[in-house]
Amino acid sequence: MAQVTVRFFARYAELTGCDTAAVAVPAAATVNDVLDRVRETVPGARSLPPRPLAALNLRQVKLDTRVKDGDEVALLPPLSGG
């Protein structure tokens, strides 16, 4: 199993009511698997869009990217910096 920290920002933090959640996923799981796990364990996460923007360890990644124990996954609403 891999223990992954999930972070929520901006509107997604409002939807879930939390900034951070810890989830456990099988070894060789993907960001998408982390997302599925989050939807099961964080009630407000069911309102997240089907394919949100995600970052893994401070870099944007595709949802099929593999995660490993200790990784940080972030779910990012549409960016509007600048």
Partner: protein
Amino acid sequence: MNPLTRDPITVESLLRVVQSPERGGTCVFLGTVRNDGDVTGIEYSAYDEMAVAEITRMLDEARERWPEARVALQHRLGLIPLGEASIAIAAAAPHRADAFAACRYVIEEVKRRLPIWKKELHTDGTATWVDPSGKTVAGGLRDR
């Protein structure tokens, strides 16, 4: 210079970082909070650690593409009143074409990659998250 700040941005502090007598052309971009109808200000929030990492990567990329240019960036967070700057980018280079190109490159990457979000505060007390794809969503409401 910290690339994220909660204080007003001053152009001079960025100019001091990038200018030198060898770099004769400087291009600055300033993004300021725009009055879209009934907006009184914008609350900026960030995924701080990733934003700092992305800014470092963008500036490294600019240095690789325009080795003679020097670029600095500062993004302000927190509540920014109408008309004040949310972002400033300064690029100095021996030749102006490089200064313009490097400055433009960085602001386009900022818009594409920087994990920063804005929530518009309206005169009626409501707030909406800005979605650059066109939709704005009321704070705290479900996806529509």
